[in-house]
């Protein structure tokens, strides 16, 4: 119903077809911060599980109550089975929260001997790198995705992406981290230790003293020393990071992966969605569709203008009956006035003395104004989404209607999908 108001059938994103297809193995939900990626990922995963698939959803930073409803009480990197789902179709749902630092630690422990691993984990440079947000979270999300896929316990993995400002960070950050850890600077820094100033080192001798000298000057010599010892300890893992990142990246380009771009019908979110859509096309990554989240749909079939003028008419009639004061307070646009008990009770006191007829009109006028506002918002959203769709023809769209209350249980997750169909 809702989708038909804005979109023709051809552009509707057939979610169930995507989730039901056995060929679909990974669904990545991406988009800029605050558009509802986590909720969308959880709702998709739940839907797929209740339609019979073995699903695991990897969430990054869920709202506390949503996490609780998925049974996620700890950030422990362990997929846990979600209770309370309908298993009649034979499906199951697991959920896990990404622990970025632990994931990084695990890679180190897996790839280095215990003594080396201990050195790396204790290194302040490593600690800063592994706990920071500058790309590490994105890298670790991809790493975790690769691990879940390799375990093969699930036939569908739904991934939420880190809450970065830019949707592109998810694709770019792993490469950035990979190229740093695997890069030229690291090779130079580790060169003296590795080769004692021989071989390839000769080629760069000219620049090298300059570089280390300058770095020492800026950073203070102890930092450079720590980077060097970090690098020396990481030595055994060289190449590994880059390769791993590339492997996961390739996984994202395969047939079984579907990207879903999540956006709210707002300029910033749609602009990010636009960048991301173009980027996916450039990298030949499969885009399944756009999810327009929190779409406002007018419920009554009256134009905003008609509603406003009707409200006006009702209020004017009443004004003659000298209830003007009460009405203007009740219709105050100052939202904080609802908390101000004294002013509100003053209004209701006056209201008691009003005739029932006048109260009924007041109610009708208030709701008509509310409707007019909703209609204006819907029109603006329609205009913004329409522009996006015109620029990106052929992308299927799923509209998820705005909810009156925040979603924090399985029923809420079911409802948003059901309302969109």
């Amino acid at each position: 119903m809702t989708a038909a108001t804005l979109l023709d059938e051809a552009r509707r994103f057939d979610l169930d077809r995507l989730l039901d297809a056995p060929a679909t193995r990974i669904v990545v939900c991406c988009g800029s911060g605050g558009v509802g990626k986590t909720t969308t990922a959880a709702a998709f995963a739940l839907r797929a599980a209740e339609r019979g698939r073995e699903v695991v959803v990897l969430t990054i930073d869920p709202a506390r109550r949503l996490a609780q409803s998925l049974g996620l009480t700890e950030l422990d990197n362990t997929p846990r089975e979600v209770d309370g789902i309908d298993r009649s179709g034979g499906g199951r749902l697991h959920a896990m929260m990404l622990d970025m630092k632990r994931t990084f630690d695990e890679i180190v422990l897996e790839h280095a001997d215990p003594e080396r691993a201990r050195q790396i984990l204790a290194n302040p440079f490593y600690q800063s790198l592994s706990a920071s947000f500058a790309g590490t979270q994105e890298y670790m999300a991809m790493e975790k995705l690769g691990q879940l896929r390799a375990r093969g316990d699930w036939d569908l993995i739904v991934v939420d992406t880190p809450p970065s400002r830019s949707a592109l960070d998810f694709l770019d950050a792993p490469d950035r981290l990979g190229s740093f850890l695997d890069g030229r600077l690291i090779k130079i820094l580790s060169a003296p230790a590795k080769m004692g100033g021989m071989g390839a080192f000769k080629l760069i001798t000219g620049g090298f003293g300059l570089v280390t000298g300058a770095l020492n000057k800026i950073l203070g010599s102890n930092l450079l020393g720590e980077v060097q010892s970090f690098v020396a300890a990481l030595d055994t893992m060289f190449g590994g990071f880059r390769e791993r990142a590339e492997r996961t990246y390739q996984l994202l380009q395969t047939e079984g992966t579907a990207f879903v771009v999540v956006a709210a019908p707002e300029p910033d979110a749609l602009r990010e969605a636009s960048y991301f859509t173009e980027r996916l096309a450039t990298d030949r990554m499969p885009l399944a569709g756009l999810v327009l989240n929190r779409v406002h749909v007018p419920k009554a079939d009256i134009t905003g203008e008609r509603a406003l003028s009707a409200a006006e008419q009702l209020t004017n009639g009443k004004a003659k009956r000298s209830a003007r004061k009460a009405a203007s307070a009740a219709e105050s646009t100052d939202p904080s006035s609802v908390g101000a008990v004294s002013s509100v009770s003053a209004v209701t006191d006056t209201a008691v003395t009003q005739s029932e007829e006048s109260q009924a009109r007041e109610l009708a006028a208030a709701l008509l104004r509310l409707h007019a506002e909703r209609a204006a918002l819907a029109r603006r959203e329609g205009r913004l989404s329409g522009r996006f769709l015109a620029n990106h023809p052929g992308i299927p769209v799923l509209e998820l209607p705005a909810q009156a209350e925040d979603i924090h249980d399985l029923d809420g997750l079911r409802t948003i999908i059901e309302q969109s169909l």
Binding site: R184, V211, L314, V338, A364, A366, R369
Partner: protein, 349 residues
Amino acid sequence: MTNADRTRTRSDWSAVRLHVVTGKGGTGKTTVAGALALALAAGGARHGERRVLLVEVEGRQGVAQLFDTPPVPYEERRVAVTPDGGEVWALAIDAEQALLEYLDMFYKLGPAARALRRFGAIDFATTIAPGIRDVLLTGKTCEAVRRRATPEAGRKSDHDRVFHYDAVVMDAPPTGRITRFLAVNSEVSGLARVGPIRNQADAVMRVLTSAQTAVHFVTLLEEMPVQETLDGIAELRDAGLPAGGVIVNQARPVVLPEERLKKAAEPGGLDLAELEEGLRPVGLADPDVVAALAQLGSEHARRVLLESGQRDLLAESGAPMYELPLLADGIDRVGLDTLAAELRRRGAA
């Protein structure tokens, strides 16, 4: 005297010269930062007296989009003027360029800086080592806060000016990262125990922990942004950083009196017959319309009560609160001016 305030004493933050604006993604942080910059630029004692810098640190050119100007380069540029001649300047700080500028200023590292860049060291320092990047971004911002006026280069009105900018507004990283971003001191303590980066971090911390800085949180009246705001304020206070105000963005108007709201929030609490009666005089007593409006009304009621609960939670933090209305027409310069006027009216600027 500093340029902090003779005529602007009505503001709750008249002693503050660095306004850091944070918020969860999607709450309108950049918009509010822009409106706050406009609000701070207005209200000078004389025409054209006030000058405010709006700083962007995430490289998204959000400020340029907000003011509908070409992308802001790494240089300060005027993006808006208030009706009373107050100026808003903008700067998109780029960590790499800030580092090169910094090297140039302190070390005259011409060829060495080029070599650093060639070997990816600049990339390393600005992209990968997060603490260093943050020191550079906050360092450049603090430099703008401290910058003295230079009358010879400026206009007449600059003669009695102490600082180049009356105020600096930073469109900062999101709530989840703000304390880490600002607490550069502890961020680099493990990395750089001595040396210039360390000194720079200490200088930054002196500005950030002083009374001339306030960190404002932008939030919506929804559970998750409110929870993040409360967590953010607590974290900030633990780190000894000054929490400022809470700016509630996109607050919706309340159209029903409280007693009706409470009733309407309950299932079937809205009297359909009454609504139908009320709609009759305007010829809209159609069952579909009645049902649709009733549903809208009950959603509105539940939303308002939920928002009111979230507002109470925010109030417990003790931070001053300011509410900005949801603008149905979206954000353009007119919208920004509306929000700026609202911020001034409520004492936020």
